[in-house]
């Protein structure tokens, strides 16, 4: 063998050219495509950006056959046809290598996209919901396909705002009943526990990874950090996606999408708009309905008028106290760390919201609590008692729309757990619309938290109007 250092520059060039021309790639692949960039090197698998004679760009995955056992053509992966998934173009084989060429999804990987732009909750929800649609296409095929490596680097935000999922290296068709996965696939922080080989992985593996991805987008890290508070309704979605036991996760990606959209208060606006539209269509008032749809669709809960999402709880309370102070010109919420009392709650209802004093103070003396036109509160309270979160939420919702807690709403509840049903309906509504954001104590809430409940409710109802 020649001593490398003896090569003169021209020989070096010849050597370079020779090395590459005698490579392991299938010759028909090299005849059709120029290799332009190496985008990734894995064990026995390299990913290249290639271009054809027309300078159209594609992705080529080159598998070393001594490392990978690839079956013949994979009809199930090759038949994928979705605008946000890479499409199979061609496959080349020789003795040592298999090359799979797919369309190149141009755009920015989500990790880089998220670093460059300060994404707010609404954009994050929108990206994840779009991702759910793509994952749904894979999961809901006759032979479900599990991606198994969902992570920000494999999600591409395209110039038109759509979201593509790439890298089907390890995606496999789920074979029900087959033995446990013998090999580790995936990226450690994003992989669910069962992917380490405890059990056969199914669709819920992708749901786990999506939960981790959501946490990454909201907090900047895929790992849980108790010091970083996440907008509560979204935190719930993350927890359920990433439950250790797959049985405790969402069982279907569509459920994740619904939960995401419900966690985003904008959805409540859309629902109210839907009801308004349905009613108005009946009366043929389509012009007015159009305005309502426009308002609901363009309503952003994270704009200045809506519930501020990117605050910690302390900032939320300070914000709410000053919001209430400015709006109602009141000093009722001064000393926000003090405990709120039922007397204060009644003051708020009478002084700020203009309810009649007798209506607020009277209550049903006998029998079970219930709704009545004669009294606002369904329970009897003394003025010096402390306030439960539920009571505050019930009052804040009811003061805007008594129909939401009316008896005909209770029939929705599957059971009665002993709590007063009007309060439970109000809590469900409040959790869904974000009114309870930042109120963490179930009992003995502070004046600041009371201000927060009322300020959040004001914003939600005003935005929905």
């Amino acid at each position: 063998m020649n001593s490398p250092r003896a090569l003169n520059p021209d020989d070096l060039l010849d050597t370079i050219v020779a090395v590459y021309d005698y490579g392991d790639y299938p010759q028909d692949f090299l005849a059709s495509y120029d290799i332009m960039e190496c985008l990734g090197e894995g064990v026995g698998c390299d990913t290249f950006l290639v271009q054809d004679a027309e300078e159209s760009q594609f992705i080529a995955k080159c598998y070393d056959k001594s490392v990978w056992e690839l079956e013949g053509s994979d009809d199930i992966l090759e038949s994928l046809d979705h605008p946000n998934l890479p499409k199979h173009i061609a496959r080349f084989d020789n003795d040592t290598m298999t090359v799979v060429v797919r369309t190149f999804m141009e755009g920015t990987p989500l990790d880089r996209y998220a670093n460059a732009k300060d994404l707010d909750e609404q954009e994050i929800v929108s990206i994840c919901a779009k991702l759910c649609d793509v994952i749904g296409y894979l999961h809901h095929r006759a032979h479900p396909i599990i991606h198994r490596d969902i992570k920000p680097a494999n999600v591409i935000v395209r110039p038109d705002g759509s979201v593509a999922l790439i890298d089907f290296d390890i995606a496999r068709v789920y074979r029900a009943g087959s033995e446990t996965d013998t090999r580790f696939f995936g990226t450690v922080a994003y992989a669910p526990p069962e992917q380490y080989g405890f059990a056969q992985t199914d669709e819920r593996a992708d749901i786990y990874s999506l939960g981790v991805l959501l946490r990454f987008l909201l907090t900047g890290s895929p790992r849980q950090n108790k010091n970083v508070r996440v907008y509560r309704p979204l935190e719930k979605v993350i927890s359920k996606c990433t439950a250790f036991d797959p049985a405790k996760r969402y069982s279907d990606i569509d459920q994740v999408k619904r939960a995401l959209l419900a966690a985003n208060p904008q959805s409540q606006g859309l629902r109210i708009a839907g009801i308004v539209v349905a009613a108005l269509v009946v009366f043929g008032l389509l012009g007015f309905a159009g305005v309502q749809i426009y308002r609901a669709v363009t309503w952003s809960p994270f704009n200045s008028d809506a519930i501020p999402a990117v605050l910690n709880d302390e900032e939320r309370i300070a914000d709410a106290v000053s919001y209430m102070k400015d709006k109602y010109n009141t000093d009722l919420f001064d000393n926000p760390d003090d405990l709120a009392t039922v007397g204060l709650l009644r003051h708020v209802l009478i002084d700020l919201y203009g309810l009649d004093r007798d209506y607020v103070y009277s209550f049903q003396e006998e029998g079970l609590p219930g709704e009545s036109d004669d009294y606002f509160m369904a329970w009897g309270w003394d003025d010096d008692q402390t306030v439960r979160k539920e009571t505050a939420v019930y009052a804040a919702v009811k003061v805007h729309d008594p129909k939401l807690v009316a008896e005909d709403q209770w029939s929705k509840l599957p059971d009665d757990n002993g709590e007063y049903p009007g309060a439970r309906v109000a809590m469900l509504f409040a959790d869904e619309t974000g009114i309870t954001t930042g109120v963490n104590r179930p009992y003995d809430i502070t004046k600041g938290e009371l201000a927060l409940v009322f300020a959040n409710a004001d914003r939600v109802f005003e935005a929905a109007e």
Binding site: M1, N2, P4, L7, P9, L12, L13, T15, I16, V17, A18, V19, Y20, D21, Y22, G23, D24, D34, I35, M36, E37, C38, L39, E41, D46, F48, L49, Q51, A53, E55, R112
Partner: protein, 150 residues
């Protein structure tokens, strides 16, 4: 890893000859995790350090004038080929070019890509952009800047 049947030299060994850094892997390891200045700031600074005028760098890089100034002003982002053209415009060597690609958030010159190897060879030889294009052309490789090969 590809081994030339004629010479017994691997791509890695070749690559080691083209770069001061022992391998692309160590280059990337050294630089991962650090944050970089915007591309436009970086090329502006390169001009100052090397006592170059924008205009002459743009000329030697074979980049259209208006587009070139927009790159320096940060109103346009370069493609990977444009970054490589600028490397020839500045007369950078391989290691400096890898740094420039990294700052532009583009994939590095890679030992497994024949076109990259030829470009790296030309950079190390101090070739002009025209000479590099000729070498690419002679070897049936796509030219820099997207001109179709024959």
């Amino acid at each position: 890893m590809h081994v030339a049947k004629t010479t017994g030299i691997t791509t890695r060994e070749l690559w080691a000859r083209l770069f001061k850094a022992p391998s692309i892997g160590s280059y990337l390891d050294e630089h991962s995790g650090s944050t970089f200045p915007p591309f436009s700031d970086y090329i502006e600074r390169l001009c100052e350090e090397r006592g170059e005028k924008r205009e002459s760098v743009i000329n030697r890089a074979g980049i259209e004038r208006t587009f070139g100034h927009r790159l320096f002003n940060g109103t346009r982002n370069p493609s990977r080929d444009t970054v490589l053209q600028l490397a020839f415009g500045f007369g950078l060597d391989c290691d400096e070019t890898q740094q420039l690609l990294k700052i532009a958030q583009m994939s590095a010159l890679h030992p497994k890509v024949k076109r990259d190897a030829v470009i790296a060879y030309c950079l190390n030889n101090g070739s002009s952009l025209m000479d590099a294009q000729q070498t690419l052309y002679d070897n049936g490789l796509p030219l820099l800047g997207g001109a179709k090969r024959e």
